[in-house]
Chain length 552, copies 2
C-alpha cells in the first residue's frame, strides 16, 4: 500500500467551506446578520456570486423568485459572468436576458413554455450554451450528483430574523433546491415577502439558509391550474365520458394525476353528475396527486375525494383548502403543504394512472408538445407518464393491465393520452413524423425531445374512441389501433374500415357506442359547474378566483 | 347545478385535526410540553395510537427507531390492536412480535432481510396480513397517496426542548416519514438519544413534531456498508478488473451507485492501483451516489472522487467525512447530511450506472435475491436497477448505449449484474426458473418478487466474462449470451462453443483476454487496502471502525 503523505498533507479538503466563509465575510459591511437590505441586493449578489458559478434559480411553472432574477440581471457582467444557470422553468424574460448581457453562459432546465421560441433562437445563434433538457425530478436528482449548485436563489413567503422560512402553500421545489446547496457549502439566498417575529410554521430551518432579502414586491405566482369551465367544449365532454366509462370504471382507477388540460377538467366536473349516475363514487378517483384544481371542488364537495397531494398551490384556493383540511395536506397552521419533489415521486410510483393531453402524436403513439422552432422542454409529464420499471407493488388497476400468463408477468401503470384529432387551424394532431425530430437537429440535442414514448402509452382517447394499446405488443396492430381513432388526419386515413371492425370486436378499440355513451348526451349541461362563479358557489364562497377569471 | 346545502353544513371537513387535538389532550397529565418521560412511553403510546391506525415505524437497512418499537410491543392489545404497520425494513424481532401479540394486523414493507424466514412463515400461517412488497421510494410515495399514516414513530440523534430535531449523519428517511404524517394531521413521535439546549443544526423543524422521548439507549445503527477487504477473493478482483475495463472505461461511466457487495468493494479498491495504471483518473467514477463506504477511502485520498451523496451514514466514518467535507454533503456543523429519498431519486435519474450482485438469475437475465421460504423484499435496488423511462437528459455513458439510428432512439442507463456462476454449497446462480415464482405462490403475492428484470439488465459480469446484453433485442441471442458466461451451471451447459466464438467476434460477449486482462494478474496484491487496518491508515486515522471489524 502506498500513501503519499506529502499529497495528503498538501491538499485541503475543506476548500468549499473556506471559500464560503471568505465570501460571506466580504459582504459583512452590507448585510445585517442574515438580512440583506432590499436596495443593496445587486451589490451583495456581485460579491456572493463568482464567475463560473452554478446558480440554481427558483422558478417552476407557478412560483418564481422574481425579485432575485430581476436583481441578478442588474449585476455588472465584468464582475459576474459565465454563470451556469439551473432553472426548472424559464418563464421570465430576464432569465434569458442574463445570457444576452453576458452574465450567464450555460443553461440546464426543464421547461421553457413562455420563452420557448426565444431560447430556440438563442441556441441557434450561439448566445446560450444548452446543457440539457430534463424533467423536474431528474434535474433535482442532478443537483446532488453532477450539477451541484454553488448558489441557490429561491423564494419564500416569510422569514423570521434568524432565517427560518415559511414557504406557505407554495413550498414546491424550494426545500430541494436549498438542500442541495446548503449541505454542500453553497450559498442560499432567499427572497421573502416579509420578515416577521413569529412564523405560522417553519418549512425550512434557518440552519439551511445564509441570507434573506425582502423583495420589492411579492414573488410572481401563476394560477396555472385554473380552468374556466366556460371553455369546455362538447367534444371534451364526450372524451371525458369515455375516460370515465372506458378507462376509470373499466380498470377501477382509484389513484391518479390530472394535468392542466380542459379534457381532464371536464372529467373532474363530470364526476358528481355522470359519475354519480354510474354509481362510481368511492370506486374510482379517490386519491389524487395534483395541484388544487378549482374544477375539483364539486367532486370534493360531493364526497368523491379522500385525499389530494399537491406539487404546488393554486392562487385563490387558500381558504378553501384550509376549510377542507381533511382532504389536503396542510401544516399545523392549516395552510397547504406542497412539495414538488415528493409529489413527482408519488405521481410516478404511487398512482394508478397518469393522463395528459398532447399536441402531436405519431403513428406509433410517440407524442410531444414540442413544435417547430420551440424548445419547450417537459416539466413533469414524462416522469408520471411512463411505466415505472422500479415499481413492485400491485393495485387493482395496475394489475388489471397484466396481459400475459407468464409467471413473471406484471401489471402496468395506466398512461393515457387525450387528443382531438385536429388542433385549431386545421393542424392534424396525428402525424407521420414528430416536429421534435426537427427540433433535435435545430437545438443540437442528442435525443429528440419526446414527451411520452409510444411504448409507455396504454390508452389513447380521441373524439372518435379509445385505443387500448396495452392489449397489443405488435407494432403493426398498435398502428392500426391508432389509425382507427385518428379521424381524417393523414394517419387516420390509413385505417381500413374492415380491420377497424375487427379491432372493435376484439376490444382493442372502443367507440362511444361500445361504452354505452350516446354522443348526443355529451352536453355542457352535464358539467357540475359551468363557469367560475358556480365553482365559487360550490365552495361556499371559500374559493377566491384571481381577478382575470372574474368575468362573470 | 345542485349543491346539497344540508350535506355541506352537516359534514365536518376537519375531523382529523379535531381528533388529533383530543388525542393530544388525553396525554396532558403524562407529558411535559412536547417531552414524553422515558418510563411513561408505553402508557402514552396506548393513548396516542388508536385501533386500526396506520403507523409508520422508522427502520431501514441501517437505522432503527428501536426504543419505540420495543415500547410499542409492550402496549396492551386490548387498547391498541389491528394496527396497519408500514416499515421500510423489518429488521428486529419485535417488528413481528407486534403481530404475534395481536397489536398489529397488516403490514406494508420494503425489505425483511433478517426476518425474511419468519415473515414468510407468519404469512403462510395467516398471522400477518401482507399489504404488499415495495421499494423504499414507492413506499414513501404511497405515504402521500393511499397509505397516509396516522402516526409516525421515528428516531433522531438530538432534540431541543421545542422539538426541533438533529438527525445528524443518519438523516435517511426520517424527514420523509415525518412530512407525510405531520402535514396530514397525524401524530409524530420521535425518540432521541438526548435533549440539548442548542442543536448543532436543525434537520427537522419543531413545527413538524408533536412529541419527543429520550430513549433508554441510542437507536440501533447497523454498519451495513463496511466490507473488510480481507474477504475479497481473487475471483472478485478479476470481476472488478473486467468491470473497470470492460464497462466503466468502455462507456465512460462518470456517475454511479455501488451496493454492498464484495465485488464492488473490490472495484473501489482497484481504482487507485489498476485504474491508475490505465490512466483513468478523472475519466471514470467521479460522482457517486452511495453510502460512505470505508472501501472508498483510498480512491478518495488518491483524488479520484469529486462528490459522494449518501442514502445514510456509516458507523465510524463520521470524523473522516467531516475532515473531507469537499467530497461529501455536510451541514454547517460539518457532519454528514444523508437523505434516503433524494439519494434514491439521484440514484435513479442522475447516475450513469447501477451495479449490483444477485443470488439467482434465469436464462433471460431476470434476477432475484429472494430464495425459497423467504420473503425478503427489495430495498432500493429495483429503482436504481432499471432504465428510467422518465429520463430525458443524456450523459456520455447513457448515450453510448444507444444502438439504433431511429430518429427517436435514445440512450440507456447502465444496469450491471455481477454474479459468480456458483454460490457456496455448489448452488448454481444461473437457473431455469427463479425461486421468486415459488415465493409468489407461497406468500400469495400478485406478482413474483423479481429484483431486476432481464429487460433492464445491460451487462452481466461473471468470472467467465461480460455479456453486453444491451446490444441485442433478440431474446434468443440474449439467452445465448448469458449461457456463454454462465460456466457449468445448467444454463451455461446449454452454450455452444461455436456460437460463443461468434458472440465474441461480434463483441456481444467479452472474456478477460478480450479486454487485455490476464487472469493471473487478478491477485489481492492489487487491492489498495487489504484489510481494515490499511483503510484506517489511508484515512490518516480518521476512520474509526466498529469494534467487530477491529480484528487485525
Amino acid at each position: 500500500m502506498v500513501i503519499s503523505k506529502v499529497e495528503m498533507e498538501r491538499k485541503s479538503w475543506t476548500t468549499r467551506v473556506e471559500a464560503k466563509k471568505k465570501t460571506i465575510e466580504s459582504v459583512q459591511g452590507l448585510v445585517d446578520g442574515v438580512i440583506i437590505p432590499t436596495k443593496r441586493i445587486v451589490e451583495v449578489l456581485e460579491r456572493l456570486i463568482k464567475p463560473g458559478d452554478r446558480v440554481v434559480l427558483e422558478g417552476n411553472n407557478q412560483k418564481q423568485a422574481s425579485f432575485l432574477s430581476k436583481s441578478l440581471v442588474q449585476v455588472d457582467p465584468k464582475k459576474v459572468h459565465d454563470l451556469h444557470m439551473i432553472i426548472s422553468s424559464i418563464s421570465r424574460p430576464e432569465h434569458l436576458d442574463l445570457f444576452e448581457y453576458g452574465i450567464a453562459r450555460k443553461i440546464d432546465f426543464s421547461y421553457a413554455g413562455p420563452q420557448s421560441l426565444r431560447i430556440a433562437q438563442m441556441i441557434e445563434d450561439g448566445k446560450i450554451e444548452l446543457g440539457d433538457l430534463h424533467t423536474y425530478i431528474e434535474l433535482y436528482g442532478r443537483l446532488f450528483v453532477d450539477l451541484i449548485p454553488q448558489v441557490a436563489l429561491v423564494a419564500a413567503d416569510k422569514a423570521d430574523r434568524y432565517g427560518n422560512l415559511y414557504t406557505g402553500p407554495n413550498t414546491e421545489e424550494t426545500p430541494t433546491l436549498v438542500e442541495a446547496t446548503a449541505f454542500r457549502d453553497g450559498i442560499v439566498i432567499v427572497q421573502v415577502n416579509e420578515i416577521v417575529d413569529e412564523l405560522p410554521r417553519v418549512d425550512i430551518p434557518s440552519s439551511w439558509v445564509d441570507f434573506v432579502v425582502v423583495a420589492d414586491e411579492p414573488y410572481e405566482l401563476e394560477p396555472l391550474f385554473t380552468r374556466d369551465p366556460r371553455h369546455i367544449t362538447d367534444i371534451q365532454i364526450l372524451q371525458a365520458m369515455m375516460i370515465i366509462r372506458g378507462i376509470y370504471e373499466k380498470h377501477g382507477v382509484k389513484s391518479l394525476n390530472h394535468g392542466i388540460g380542459f379534457n381532464t377538467a371536464a372529467v373532474e366536473l363530470l364526476l358528481p353528475t355522470y359519475g354519480e349516475s354510474l354509481g362510481l363514487k368511492g370506486k374510482i378517483c379517490t386519491n389524487w396527486v395534483l395541484n388544487p384544481h378549482p374544477t375539483l371542488i364539486p367532486a370534493i364537495e360531493s364526497g368523491w375525494v379522500e385525499s389530494v397531494y399537491c406539487f404546488g398551490g393554486e392562487l385563490g384556493m387558500e381558504k378553501y383548502i384550509e376549510a377542507r383540511r381533511d382532504i389536503f395536506f396542510t401544516g399545523k397552521d392549516g395552510s397547504l403543504r406542497s412539495n414538488r419533489t415528493l409529489a413527482q415521486l408519488a405521481g410516478q410510483y404511487a398512482v394508478d394512472l397518469f393522463i395528459g393531453s398532447t399536441l402531436q402524436m405519431d403513428a406509433l403513439g410517440n407524442s410531444s408538445t414540442v413544435t417547430r422552432g420551440r424548445v419547450a422542454g417537459y416539466g413533469g409529464a414524462p416522469n408520471m407518464g411512463h411505466n415505472p420499471g422500479g415499481r413492485r407493488h400491485a393495485t387493482d388497476a395496475w394489475y388489471n393491465l397484466k396481459t400475459s400468463d407468464d409467471p413473471l408477468a406484471r401489471g402496468k401503470k395506466l398512461v393515457v393520452q387525450v387528443a382531438e384529432t385536429f388542433q385549431e387551424a386545421n393542424k392534424p394532431v396525428f402525424v407521420e413524423s414528430l416536429d421534435a425530430i426537427h427540433v433535435k437537429d435545430q437545438a443540437k440535442l442528442r435525443v429528440a425531445p419526446v414527451m411520452i414514448y409510444g411504448e409507455d402509452v396504454t390508452h389513447i382517447v380521441t373524439e372518435e374512441g379509445i385505443a387500448y394499446l396495452y392489449k397489443s405488443d405488435s407494432m403493426a396492430e398498435r398502428r392500426e389501433m391508432i389509425a382507427a381513432i385518428a379521424g381524417v388526419t393523414p394517419i387516420g386515413m390509413e385505417h381500413n374500415p374492415k380491420s377497424t371492425e375487427k379491432l372493435r370486436e376484439k376490444g382493442l378499440i372502443a367507440m362511444p357506442e361500445d361504452l354505452g355513451i350516446r354522443r348526443s348526451d355529451a352536453k355542457r349541461s352535464l358539467l357540475a359547474a359551468k363557469n367560475i362563479d358556480e365553482l365559487v358557489q360550490w365552495s361556499g364562497g371559500l374559493y377566491n378566483p384571481p381577478a382575470r377569471f372574474r368575468s362573470w
